[in-house]
């Protein structure tokens, strides 16, 4: 089991890398390799079971894209062939068609999915997220195939951009990784959150997603990665925190959005 972390020197915001440290605790035999901006991503030459990339700065997005664009064709092929990816936070935006800022294109994306990230550096968006993950969707289905026992997923969003589609605000819902139960999907009007194409999983949810969501992590390790799992690391504490968080976030009296400080309201 080899996990490749792409560009950890810049894609390391908001505790995202804790996901990989947690996977390593759950799968002690796993080997974690880091690829920096000067190196060719290893998964392109095979032998990588999971590619991970976390949240980065706006300049980090530019630098990462500059590097990934060299290999755009090979990356698209590898996703087609079923290479496993987990992409969190605004790293997801790199895989869409383009990133716009205040109405103008600032970065051309890899084009893995037809998404347009629109960001405004004045309006930082913060929310809690409650979603459902259709675990029965398996590892090779495109998009939200639905399942009898969806897994509840909880987490945080904190971002400058939202993802849209040229086909409309809900134009990416058919590719959703999660279905929003409370909180927005890829944008204010979308119910679908994240992107799932073959084994490419991406979400705007930031931070220690796998630590805070033991049921999702069990699926991720067993079904998605195909690994044997006796139990998650400190599973009891993780479940206790998870159950408490699910109760808290699904309680209608818990505010969903954060407008503190000088954060302006959603335009």
């Amino acid at each position: 089991m080899r996990i490749e972390v792409l560009f950890p020197e810049i894609c390391n915001l908001y505790g995202d890398l804790a996901n990989i440290r947690y996977l390593k605790l759950c799968l002690p035999e796993a080997e974690v390799v880091e690829t920096n901006l000067q190196q060719k991503p290893r998964f392109l030459d095979g032998g990588i079971d999971l590619v991970y990339m976390g949240t980065t700065t706006e300049e980090g997005q530019r630098l990462a894209l500059e590097q990934l664009m060299f290999y755009r064709g090979d990356i698209l092929k590898s996703i087609e062939k079923g290479q496993r990816f987990l992409i969190t936070g605004n790293a997801m935006e790199l895989f869409g068609e383009r990133i716009e800022e205040d109405g103008e294109e600032v970065l051309r994306g890899l084009g893995v999915f037809p998404g347009v990230a629109r960001r405004s550096s004045v309006n930082r968006f913060n929310s809690l997220f409650v979603g459902e993950f259709p675990a029965e969707a398996g590892t090779s289905t495109e998009g939200d195939a639905g399942g009898s026992e969806p897994i509840t997923v909880v987490g945080f969003k904190s971002q400058f951009g939202h993802m849209f589609s040229d086909e409309g605000d809900q134009g990416l819902d058919h590719l959703a990784l999660f279905r929003a139960a409370r909180g927005p999907g890829l944008n204010r009007y979308a119910k679908g959150e994240g992107i799932r194409i073959n084994n490419f999983l991406a979400t705007y949810v930031i931070g220690p997603l796998l630590i805070l969501n033991p049921p999702l992590t069990r699926w991720f390790i067993r079904d998605f990665l195909g690994q044997t799992l006796d139990g998650l690391a400190f599973e009891e504490a993780a479940m206790d925190s998870y159950v408490n968080r699910v109760n808290e976030y699904t309680d209608p009296s818990t505010g969903l959005y954060y407008w503190g400080g000088t954060t302006e309201r959603w335009q």
Partner: protein, 459 residues
């Protein structure tokens, strides 16, 4: 140009100050809100006293501002300050209103203002500081500040080109703000405990800002704070105009060298943060034209205000209250590093929950995974009491840091946290609290005292 609206705003706000006093309300921002409602460009029209000095950055703003105010007042200056109110535009307006006469004249000759980094974009276009010190730019609230590169960009865009910048030369993010502005750098040559490799989870400047190769550090205090160079293109940390060296923590002194003089100054606290704060203040006064002897005299007359740190001894136990900023991974990492490095056995109460967040939504706890809880995994930290709305998250984070179950106690309500203390002989009990739990930390500390007294009574 001052207009009728300006004066109307000023008088209404002044009346509100009187009303607040009469009714016994604090309302530190209320007059500022009134003034901005009536006259949105009040700050621009107000101008300022003789000199406007600003301090911004992620950590240490309040301490540096308090030191500066204290030293300038010791020098006989009349100082306008906002340290009783907020550091956003409403707080600054309130400070101006309080200082101004009804005729709009400033009573003070110099303003020393703590300015919120994000607020700079609305403040600076209206009131550009003559001198601005940026202590550091590191990760802070994920929700408000995003990441330090973003804050650096906000500051650069808002900066008036004439503002003289005093920058931490050991922080390549802070020192890169507004590259075309006049500037002076301060820094520390080396300190005991410096490392080359980062031992923290967060390291926000790993690549060369010029060629994006991996940077190397010749000395590193923590995170990205230190002296760095790029082995590929030759980029390096700026040369410091105020370079501190030879820190002597036994005698609590540090030497600062400039082109013109070298002088030994008194340190006010042995934490690295506070050593930087002293060096920053020396640089600030140096740029104001004070000579080294006078700076030394003024420094001798001042202390770090104790609201964020308090030590007491009671029946063989030490109790230390220390602010450990909630939602600020770097601030809390520094506090954890400091606490874990102190000698002797200890117990900790972790109550850095953000209570105002808890009241309206649920605190974003991602920052816990940027924060070095691993520093708390030490044999001489015998018991860590996690408490408050996010106690379960602290518990989980400590487990992730490798802390054994028998060294973690869970108590739901902060006020009951002292009941889980074990009182090891001669130990130090730390109460680590957040920015909005100062009063609650006082109550918890009182409970600890009660428990110690009860124990002594039983003996």
């Amino acid at each position: 140009m001052r207009s009728v609206r300006f004066y109307l705003a000023l008088w209404c706000a002044k009346l509100s100050v009187i009303a607040l006093k009469v009714t016994g309300h604090r309302g530190t921002n209320f007059p500022g809100r009134i003034v901005l409602k009536i006259c949105p460009d009040f700050l621009r029209r107000a101008g300022g006293p003789g000199k406007v000095l600003g301090v911004t950055g992620t950590n240490g703003k309040t301490t540096v501002v308090n030191l500066l105010i204290s030293m300038l007042r010791a020098d006989g200056k009349r100082v306008l300050e906002n340290n009783q109110g907020s550091n956003t535009i409403t707080g600054l307006c309130t400070a101006f209103i309080r200082d101004m006469t009804p005729g709009g004249k400033f009573r003070s000759e110099v303003a020393v203002l703590e300015i919120d980094e994000r607020s700079s974009r609305v403040v600076f276009p209206m009131m550009a500081p003559d001198i601005l010190l940026i202590n550091n730019l590191t990760r802070d609230s994920i929700m408000r500040n995003g990441h330090p590169e973003y804050i650096s960009r906000v500051l650069t865009r808002a900066m008036d080109p004439k503002t003289l910048l005093i920058l931490n030369g050991d922080d390549l993010i802070a020192s890169s703000v507004a590259p075309n502005n006049p500037r002076a750098y301060f820094g520390i040559e080396s300190l005991e405990g410096d490392v080359k490799e980062c031992i923290n989870l967060v390291n926000d400047l790993q690549i060369c800002p010029r060629c994006h190769s991996i940077l190397e550090y010749t000395s590193r205090r923590y995170h990205h704070i230190g002296r760095a160079f790029c082995p590929e293109c030759g980029f390096q940390s700026p040369k410091c105009d105020y370079l501190a060296m030879d820190a002597d923590l036994e005698n609590m002194t540090i030497s600062v060298k400039t082109e013109k003089w070298t002088k030994v100054f008194r340190l006010l606290n042995d934490s690295v943060f506070n050593i930087y704060n002293v060096v920053a203040v020396v640089a600030f006064l140096g740029e104001l034209g004070y000579g080294p002897d006078r700076i030394e005299e003024l420094l001798e007359q001042t202390e770090i205000v104790g609201s964020r740190y308090g030590v007491e001894e009671l029946d063989g136990f030490r109790i230390i209250r220390q602010m450990s900023k909630d939602r600020n991974a770097l601030g809390s990492s520094r506090a954890f590093d400091y606490v874990s490095g102190q000698p002797g056995e200890k117990e900790l109460i972790l109550m850095m929950n953000n209570l105002s967040d808890a009241a309206v939504w649920s605190e974003n706890v991602c920052w816990l995974y940027d924060c070095d809880f691993e520093f708390l995994n030490r044999d001489n930290i015998r018991n860590i009491v996690v408490t408050g709305p996010r106690a379960r998250d602290y518990y989980l984070r400590l487990k992730f840091a490798g802390v054994d179950d028998d060294r973690i106690s869970f108590v739901g309500d902060e006020i009951d946290a002292p009941s889980a203390l074990r009182f090891y002989e001669g130990e130090t009990i730390y109460v680590l609290y957040g920015t909005d739990s100062i009063d609650l930390a006082d109550e918890v500390t009182e409970k600890i005292r009660e428990r110690i007294r009860e124990r002594s009574g039983k003996k």
